[in-house]
């Protein structure tokens, strides 16, 4: 007689999830997609470290926790709008608190010509049909657990479209706020972003917390950058220090499309970021610049994968990781230059700094090339602060902690020199410095 497996509280808490009334409930195609994804998630459970994609990130502890299915009070929490502001960012803003859209905190009055920006909850009410394809997806890989969960339970998010040829001057600010609620909440956000042919968009994604909480947030973002379009995406992840945040982004680029992402990860206790880019059109370019700075027992796992599928495509990825105390960082950078993507140029560089003997960073660059005349370079290192430099600074009068911070900031700084908005660049530097112990 086979023994039934021990109950997993995380899964147990989803027992009644199928009966939830979410925005869009009642739409037959959406109900079906949600139900199927929920069933698939429950059947497969949380991935364990035997799954390659989760090798360095154990979810056992998460599996033992029970989260409330959303936050019924999300529209009532007091949030100071000033706390959401980022210096130099004064354009349209979409704010979500514990995963729920907050009209009172958002700024949607004066949208530029060609920009459509709405919360998913509203789009599902008014005009869901264009999202049918995006929201009917089935995720098949074992590593896709959270994408399934998100597809099953996301009721809100960002729907953003830039019309072909439109150049959106002011950055669009997407703000995800975590705030304490009754119990630990799991919230799920789904973003659909499209930059039309020849259009330009500046996006600033900001995760933050009003106070400490232990929520779980999942975000799935699908971004399409059409032919000749340009996207700049800056992401400041400063989520609650005890929160869990799981993000999955996919970026598809058309011919001569360009996307540049700047990522700074400092928040959360358990953070996972999957970023997958497909360069589908000839001459497409995808660049990422990222830094993660960890302390305490933070665990951040970044999984970057880039697929060159067309002629003369280019990607450049520069990432820095810093871990202090007992923190653990994981970085996987996988680049595939597929057959036919001749003349492509791919480079990946990941350097990491351990500030404590108990900290750990695992880095794994992977490069697969199936095309001709490809330029490719990748490198990854894990090291410590240069003791000679540290002594040099101290011998000039800088206390040890200040000297360490100065060297650590210098280690990371080069990554953000290309951030176009100078005020935001300074803010990134300040946030990074403030997070150093």
């Amino acid at each position: 007689m086979s023994q039934s497996p021990a109950p997993v509280p995380f899964i147990d808490a989803l027992r009644d999830a199928a009966d939830l009334r979410l925005p869009g409930s009642g739409l037959a195609w959406l109900d079906a997609a949600r139900r199927e994804n929920l069933e698939a998630f429950i059947a497969a459970g949380l991935p364990d470290t035997r799954a390659e994609a989760w090798k360095y990130t154990a979810l056992r502890a998460l599996g033992q926790r029970r989260f409330a299915l959303g936050d019924a009070q999300a529209t009532g929490h007091l949030v100071d709008p000033h706390a959401l502001a980022l210096p130099g960012i004064d354009g349209p803003r979409l704010v979500f608190v514990n995963g729920v859209f907050r009209a009172d905190l958002s700024r949607l009055e004066t949208l530029s010509q060609g920009l459509t920006l709405q919360p998913l909850s509203k789009v599902l009410q008014n005009d869901p049909e264009p999202l049918r394809f995006a929201l009917s997806r089935h995720y098949r890989e074992a590593g896709d657990a959270f994408a399934r969960l998100n597809a099953a339970l996301a009721g809100d998010g960002v729907v953003l479209r830039v019309a072909p040829g439109a150049r959106i001057g002011k950055p669009v600010h997407l703000c995800f706020v975590g705030t304490p609620a009754q119990g630990d909440v799991a919230w799920h956000v789904r973003n659909v972003i499209e930059v039309g042919e020849g259009a330009e968009l500046n996006l600033v994604e900001h995760h933050l917390a009003t106070a400490s909480h232990k929520h779980l947030g999942t975000l799935v973002s699908d971004i399409v950058v059409h032919d000749g379009a340009k996207l700049h995406h800056a992401l400041l992840q400063n989520a609650g220090e005890e929160s869990t945040l799981i993000r999955r982004g996919s970026v598809h680029l058309g011919a001569k499309a360009q996307a540049m992402m700047h990522v700074l990860e400092i928040g959360g206790t358990l953070v996972r970021h999957d970023l997958h880019a497909e360069l589908r059109g000839d001459g497409a370019r995808f660049d990422t610049r990222g830094v993660f700075v960890l302390r305490g027992r933070q665990h951040i796992d970044t999984q970057l994968s880039i697929r060159h599928q067309a002629l003369n495509t280019a990607s450049e990825s520069i990432w820095r990781g810093v871990a202090d105390e007992r923190a653990r960082g994981v970085f996987r950078g996988a680049i595939v230059v597929a057959e036919g993507a001749d003349g492509s140029d791919a480079s990946l560089n990941n350097k990491n700094l351990l500030l404590s003997p108990l900290a750990e960073i695992d880095t794994k660059p992977e490069l697969e090339i199936y095309a001709d005349e490809v330029k490719a370079a990748h490198g990854a290192t894990v090291g410590q602060l240069d003791e000679r430099a540290l002594f040099y600074l101290r011998s000039r009068g800088l206390p040890r902690a200040e000297a360490r911070a100065l060297l650590t900031a210098a280690f990371c700084r080069a990554v953000f020199t290309a951030l176009p908005n100078e005020t935001l660049r300074d803010h990134f530097s300040d946030a990074l410095l403030a997070h150093l112990p």
Partner: protein, 257 residues
């Protein structure tokens, strides 16, 4: 100002300083000369507090306080400055930013008001005149891509800005051509004052043509074996370090290397 008594120090288990005694008063310039391996750089490193140097006996008092008990940053704030033999390149850290942070950290430690960027800029302009250093160097990362001469001039420039009471120049002349050497010496001379002392560590007499010492000491096998005025340096130049060894047979083996 500086009182070193019977200092013994070891590096990686090897005894390097073996009973060094030296007193430096305000306003004096002392040259420490000696063959390779005599312990010259070890002396500079021990005084500035570098890790890896174990003091096994003796004492160092700086203005009456135990210098060896202090962290490197505290020694700097107390007024001790080491011009490195090999200044470290620090990519990503702006030279000016670093120097202002260092100066303000020292001032803070001494209970003095920190300088704002305008005040600091004014100070830097004054010191630039003394050092004849191009202000382009100030905007670069600390020592990054600097030539040998630029690195050494940058050391002296830092010294000018930080205004230490005791400056230790560790083989500042090494690797410099004659023009760079003159510039460095000129900078040092401009900083000589009745309340500032210098410890000039060098292998060659050449530097002392430009920085005139009040005292010259010969360091051999971890001890000062000969002291005198500037003419001692000339004698050494003429006769080589073997001359000292001949006067002290115990050192014969050292000096021949």
């Amino acid at each position: 100002m500086l009182k070193i008594e019977n200092l013994h120090a070891r590096v990686e288990g090897k005894d390097i300083l073996k009973g060094l005694t030296l007193t430096v008063n305000p306003g004096e310039v002392h040259a420490i000369m000696g063959p390779n391996g005599a312990g010259k750089s070890t002396l500079g490193n021990v005084l500035s507090g570098r890790d890896g140097y174990e003091v096994t006996a003796g004492s160092v008092l700086f203005e009456g306080h135990d210098l060896l008990a202090q962290e490197p940053e505290d020694r700097a704030a107390a007024g001790v400055f080491l011009a490195f033999q090999y200044p470290v390149e620090i990519p990503g850290v702006n030279n000016t930013y670093f120097l202002r942070a260092a100066l303000n950290a020292q001032r803070k430690r001494r209970g003095e008001a920190e300088l704002d960027s305008m005040q600091f800029l004014k100070l830097v302009r004054e010191k630039l005149k003394i050092m004849q250093i191009s202000d382009e160097l100030l905007h670069r990362a600390v020592n990054e891509g600097f030539s040998g001469g630029e690195k050494k001039r940058n050391e002296i420039f830092q010294m000018a800005v930080l205004e230490p009471k005791l400056a230790i120049l560790d083989e500042t002349d090494s690797g410099l051509d004659i023009d760079a050497l003159k510039q460095v010496a000129q900078g040092v001379n401009a900083l000589r004052s009745p309340d500032r002392a210098f410890l000039v560590i060098t292998h060659y007499q050449r530097l002392l043509d430009y920085i005139e010492p009040d005292f010259v000491h010969v360091l051999a096998d971890g001890r000062i074996v000969e002291s005198g005025d500037k003419t001692l340096a000339l004698k050494l130049e003429e006769h080589g370090y073997a001359w000292v060894a001949e006067r002290d047979p115990a050192l014969a083996g050292e000096a021949s290397t």
